[in-house]
Amino acid sequence: MSSRAQQVFAVKRLIATNRKKILSLGVLPLLMLGSTPALAIQRHGGIEGLAAHQLGHLLFLTGLGIILINIHQRGLKGAGWPQFKAFLRLAILWNILTFAGHWAGEQVTQEQFTASDELAKGFQISSPGDILFYLSGLDNLILTPAILFFFLALRKWRSAA
């Protein structure tokens, strides 16, 4: 069997074995349709909707958690696995941070952004939620290393093969 045919077979198998789950996940686009328009500071409004995005974050987080548990259960060690686990942990942390940030962002108003011109120059913090929102804006400090670890894991696997 060629690699192309194997890939097609794998995808078909994926769909066949997870048909019920895929159908239940199909509800998400409906949630997107019922969302509100996006504001300047609201990252996930409009046709997407915050609820759908937050649910997506939860699914992403859950998926990464399942993978991490499986790796621990199978006791996978050796080349690439420590980097991959670092990626999973950072990605989970990023999901938690951004999930909290999105929630906190709901409370932030346009007025909290002090600006001398069109560019925002400062952000007024008046509650712990504001701090969370501000920190979630710095989420690349977690996400970039996470992707870097994923890259390193893949490189190790490729070298070890």
Partner: protein
């Protein structure tokens, strides 16, 4: 409190750029890795996962970069339109990643189950293999035991067949010897009688002397046959220490065989005594050594004679001998050896592999007969081109038996006179024998009443039982055989001494003859001297 927003903008732009870069690289690496081993499920899974994560990372990074550029450029309205699309892509990739994870989880579960079943199967296979190995071992053991049993059975069957064959040959040889002895008895007797009446200087004396010599040679041959068939009753068994006897015999043998043959002796002087006829043991060793010498005559070699005591358990030895102490005499040579067929026939009388005139074929037959009559067993181990070892097992005599037998031996060896004047009743169905013995015994001074009919003899005895001092009777006679006649005579007169003479009889032994009142049991042909000695001994005992 107001915090600067610029760090957010900078980290967002720098981080997004780096994330974008690494995400694209991840995709490239994953694809390369997957292509290295197309059939690997795990690599497929990682590739799909990378694809989803890269889609998320690229769309997010790209979206954030655009966002920051638009916001910095004051195009908030444009961003408001793009933002939901970028977010929707991200949300979708999150869902895809989750789906891929579930697939991986399921794959992992199935793989786990497979591994579990595989381990279980391996364990079962291992267990079964071990069981099979054990069964195999047991089976091998059983097969080996069966093979051994079959070999043992084959060996025993062979031994039985050999014994039966030797027994049959013995019976046949004994039967021939009987008739032959009956023929030889008058020949020797009359020849001796005539020689006694002739002058030693006459030509007739010389001619008859040749007849006597030839007849005696024939008598010796018959004796040898009887030795083989174990029917001789003239063996003088007494306790004998074999070691000095063997050593002495070997000295004689050494003198008669060439120096190309080395003789090695391993004689245990403490091997102990056996109940045997020393002359016969001497003959056994001479016969065996002669055979060994002839086997090595061409190329020379080593003749090894060993003697030592052994203990045999009945269930442990293959010789069929009962448990006890035995003396083992071995004679080994490094000569031409024998094949299986020859070994099997080696003890048969007149069987020889030697050239005509070089061997009588009686050597081993005599050894066999002597050993058997001593309650022993002979074993032949031979390999063609390697040599032959003949092992003889004789029952060892314990010290108490030794003393008793010595005493009895001394009694038998006392010298006796031959002449007498007693009245003897002589019965034999062969007229020639009766006539010859009558003349012979009368010459010694005895009064003889001869009969060729045993019933007439019995009647004569009934009429005057006190008239007779001794009865000499043949065994094989029509109407009334020797044993029955003896029984009748003893009934009439309990103390009458009876001598039973026979050429061969398979129905009477010396022990049985003694039980029915026969005092002496003699094998034909009996010389005049021997008969006279036995008569005198019996008559003197009764006085």
């Amino acid at each position: 409190m107001t915090v600067p927003w610029l760090p957010v903008v900078i980290t967002d732009m720098a981080g997004s750029s780096l994330t974008l870069f690494f995400a694209i690289w991840c995709l490239v690496l994953s694809r390369q890795w997957q292509r290295q081993k197309p059939g690997d499920h795990f690599r497929h899974y990682i590739f799909f996962l990378t694809l989803a994560i890269a889609c998320f990372a690229i769309s997010r990074s790209f979206g954030h970069l655009i966002k920051q550029i638009l916001l910095l450029g004051g195009h908030d309205d444009v961003w408001r339109q793009i933002s939901p699309i970028s977010g929707a892509v991200n949300t979708t990739t999150f869902i895809v990643i989750f789906a891929i994870t579930l697939y991986f989880h399921r794959l992992h579960t199935i793989q786990g189950e497979l591994e579990f079943h595989q381990k279980n199967l391996e364990m079962l296979v291992r267990q079964r293999t071990e069981e099979l190995a054990l069964s195999n071992l047991a089976l091998q053991k059983e097969i080996t035991e069966r093979k051994l049993m079959m070999e043992e059975k084959k060996k025993l069957t062979g031994q039985l067949r050999q014994t039966q064959k030797m027994e049959a040959i013995g019976t046949l040889a004994g039967g021939i010897a009987h008739d032959f002895n009956n023929i030889l008895t008058p020949i020797i007797g009359y020849t001796e009688l005539t020689l006694h009446q002739l002058s030693p200087d006459s030509a007739m004396f010389h001619n008859l002397e040749q007849v006597r010599i030839s007849a005696n040679r024939a008598k010796e041959l018959v004796k040898q046959i009887l030795t083989f068939s174990r029917k001789t009753e003239q063996q003088q068994h007494s306790p004998v220490e074999l070691s000095p006897l063997i050593k002495e015999t070997l000295k004689l043998i050494r003198a008669s065989i060439p120096s190309t043959i080395e003789i090695q002796e391993y004689i245990d002087p403490q091997s102990g005594p056996v109940l045997a006829d020393p002359t016969q043991i001497h003959q056994v060793l001479v016969n065996l050594c002669t055979n060994a010498y002839q086997a090595m005559a061409e190329k020379g070699g080593v003749l090894t004679v060993s003697l030592h005591g052994v203990h045999l358990e009945e269930d442990q030895n293959e010789l069929g001998l009962s448990t006890g102490q035995y003396i083992k005499l071995s004679v080994a040579d490094t000569g031409v050896g024998m094949d299986e067929v020859t070994v099997e026939r080696a003890c048969e009388p007149f069987f020889t592999t030697k050239e005509l005139g070089k061997g009588s074929g009686m050597g081993l037959s005599i050894v066999h007969g002597i050993v058997a009559s001593h309650g022993g067993r002979i074993i032949i181990d031979s390999r063609e081109g390697k040599g032959t070892t003949i092992m003889i097992y004789l029952p060892k005599l314990d010290s108490s038996e030794t003393a008793a037998k010595k005493e009895a031996g001394e009694l038998n060896s006392r010298p006796v006179r031959q002449h007498g004047s007693e009245h003897l009743l002589l019965i034999d169905d062969e007229e020639a024998i009766v006539e010859m013995q009558k003349i012979s015994l009368e010459e010694l001074g005895y009064r003889i009443t001869p009969f060729t009919d045993s019933e007439l003899a019995l009647n004569a005895f009934k009429e005057h039982p006190a008239n007779f001092d001794l009865v000499i009777t043949d065994q094989s006679m029509p109407k009334l055989p020797g044993t029955e006649l003896a029984a009748e005579l003893v009934k009439i007169r309990k103390d009458i001494p009876i001598i039973l003479c026979t050429g061969y009889s398979s129905v009477i032994s010396e022990e049985r003859a003694g039980d029915i009142g026969i005092r002496k049991f003699l094998m034909k042909p009996v010389s005049r001297m021997e008969l006279a000695r036995e008569i005198r001994q019996l008559l003197d005992k009764g006085l």
